[in-house]
C-alpha cells in the first residue's frame, strides 16, 4: 500500500502537479516542508527587527511611511507562511515554541546589526533581492499552499527591492559622507547576502531529497549565481564597488566568477555566535509574552458575547 502511495506521489510530482494538504505524502516530505516553511516564516518575522530599528529615525516622512509599509508586509508574509505550514499538521503554538527554544532556525542574515540608514538601503536591495531570487524559484515548488504563498509574496516584494535600491542610489549620489555610508553598507551586507542561498551544492545536507521532490527547483549555487549576475550591474550603475577582488566577468561561462565565501563565519553565526542572535530571539519572546493579554482579552470578550447571545 505504502509503496503504491509513494509511486503515485512521485508520479504526481513528476507530472508537475501540486501536492495538496489532504493528499498522501511521505513523512520525510512533510517534515522537510515543515522545517523549510517554518524557517522561511520565522525569517520574515525576525526580519522585521533590523528594519524596525530605523523606523523612528527614518530621514523623511516619505521614507518612514515606506519603511513602515515594508515592515508590515514582512509581518504579513510571515503569516502567509505560518498558514501554509499549519496545513501540514503543526500548530502555530508549536512553531513559535520551536523558534523560542532555538530548535527552529531563521535566515542568518538577520543576525547582523543595522548600523546606519544606508543599511536599510542595503537590506532592501541585497537581502530582499536575494530573497526574491529564491522565492521566484519557489513559486514552482511542489507543495500547493507553499507555492501559492510564494506567488503572493513575490507580487508584493518587488517594491521592497526597489525602495532599497533607491536609498542606495540617492546616498551614492549624495555628499561624501553619504557615499561612504552606502559603500560601507554594501561592504558589510554583500557576503552575508551571498550566504543566504545556503552552503554550496556539494555540502548541502538537505538538497538532494528537496530536488527529487521538487520542493526546491534550483540549486543553491545556481540561484546564488543568478543573484550575483544581476546585482553586479546594478552596483556599477550607481557607482558602488562590490567588495570582492576576485569578481570578474567570465566570457566563456557568461557569468561572473567570484571569490571564496567565508563559511566559517557563516557557521559561527548560524550556531548562535552572531552579533544579534540573542537579542532577536529575546525581543520575539518579549513581544509574545507582553502581547499575551491581547489574546486573553479577546478570548474573554468572545466568551462574553457568546453568553449574551444565549
Amino acid at each position: 500500500m505504502s509503496n503504491n502511495n509513494e509511486n503515485n506521489f512521485l508520479e504526481k510530482i513528476n507530472n508537475g502537479n501540486k501536492v495538496e494538504p489532504r493528499d498522501w505524502m511521505p513523512e520525510k516530505y512533510r517534515k522537510h516542508l515543515i522545517r523549510q516553511i517554518a524557517q522561511h516564516a520565522h525569517s520574515e518575522v525576525i526580519g522585521m527587527q533590523p528594519e524596525g530599528n530605523w523606523i523612528t529615525r527614518a530621514p523623511s516622512l516619505r521614507a518612514k511611511m515606506v519603511l513602515i509599509a515594508k515592515v508590515q508586509d514582512e509581518g504579513g508574509h510571515g503569516l502567509y507562511l505560518y498558514s501554509a505550514c499549519e496545513t501540514l499538521g503543526i500548530t502555530r503554538d508549536e512553531l513559535i515554541s520551536q523558534l523560542h527554544e532555538g530548535k527552529a532556525k531563521y535566515s542568518n542574515i538577520f543576525n547582523y546589526p543595522t548600523l546606519s540608514w544606508a543599511d536599510i538601503g542595503a537590506i532592501g536591495w541585497l537581502v530582499d533581492g536575494a530573497a526574491i531570487v529564491n522565492q521566484q524559484s519557489l513559486r514552482r515548488t511542489s507543495y500547493g499552499p507553499y507555492s501559492r504563498a510564494m506567488v503572493r509574496i513575490c507580487r508584493e516584494e518587488s517594491f521592497h527591492q526597489r525602495q532599497g535600491y533607491e536609498i542606495m542610489s540617492k546616498m551614492s549620489n549624495g555628499i561624501k559622507e553619504q557615499q561612504k555610508m552606502a559603500q560601507d553598507a554594501l561592504d558589510r551586507w554583500w557576503w552575508p547576502s551571498l550566504m543566504m542561498f545556503g552552503p554550496h551544492d556539494v555540502d548541502s545536507a538537505h538538497s538532494s531529497d528537496a530536488m527529487k521532490w521538487k520542493i526546491k527547483r534550483e540549486t543553491n549555487d545556481a540561484l546564488r549565481q543568478l543573484f550575483i549576475d544581476r546585482t553586479v550591474k546594478q552596483a556599477d550603475l550607481i557607482g558602488l564597488e562590490i567588495p570582492d577582488p576576485d569578481l570578474k566577468w567570465n566570457k566563456k561561462k557568461k557569468h561572473y566568477d567570484f571569490g571564496k565565501i567565508d563559511w566559517d563565519e557563516f557557521w559561527k553565526v548560524v550556531n548562535g555566535n552572531g552579533f544579534c542572535n540573542k537579542e532577536r530571539i529575546a525581543n520575539h519572546v518579549k513581544a509574545h509574552e507582553e502581547g499575551e493579554w491581547v489574546k486573553e482579552a479577546a478570548l474573554a470578550y468572545a466568551e462574553k458575547q457568546k453568553r449574551r447571545k444565549k
Binding site: G76, Y80, S83, D93, A149, A298
Partner: protein, 95 residues
C-alpha cells in the same frame, strides 16, 4: 508556553464587485469581527478586493482528493454536455 491558539478561518476575496469570490488563505481570530479585520489587514493591503468572506475552517466540507476519480466519475462520459458534441451546418450562424 501559551496554549490558547485562536481558531482558524478561511478567507475569500471578491476582487471587484460582480466577480466570484476566491480563496485567499487563512488566519487566526477569536470571532467574526476580528477575522474580518485581520483578513483586511493581511490579504488586502493593495486594494485586492471589494468584499471579504470569512468562514471558520472547521465549517468547510471538502471532497476527499483520494476519491477524486470515483467522485467526479459521473461527468466523465457525458461529452454531450459540451457544445462541440453537436454537428451543425456551417451555414447556421449565431449558434
Amino acid at each position: 508556553m501559551n496554549k490558547n491558539q485562536l481558531p482558524t478561518w478561511e478567507v475569500f476575496i471578491q476582487p471587484k464587485s460582480g466577480a466570484s469570490f476566491q480563496h485567499a488563505g487563512n488566519l487566526h481570530a477569536i470571532d467574526e469581527e476580528m477575522a474580518l479585520q485581520n483578513a483586511r489587514d493581511l490579504y488586502t493591503r493593495r486594494q485586492e478586493g471589494s468584499c471579504i468572506w470569512v468562514v471558520k475552517s472547521d465549517n468547510i466540507v471538502s471532497s476527499n482528493p483520494d476519491d477524486e476519480e470515483s467522485f467526479f466519475d459521473p461527468s466523465d462520459d457525458k461529452i454531450y454536455r459540451y457544445p462541440t458534441f453537436f454537428k451543425v451546418s456551417k451555414k447556421a450562424k449565431g449558434l
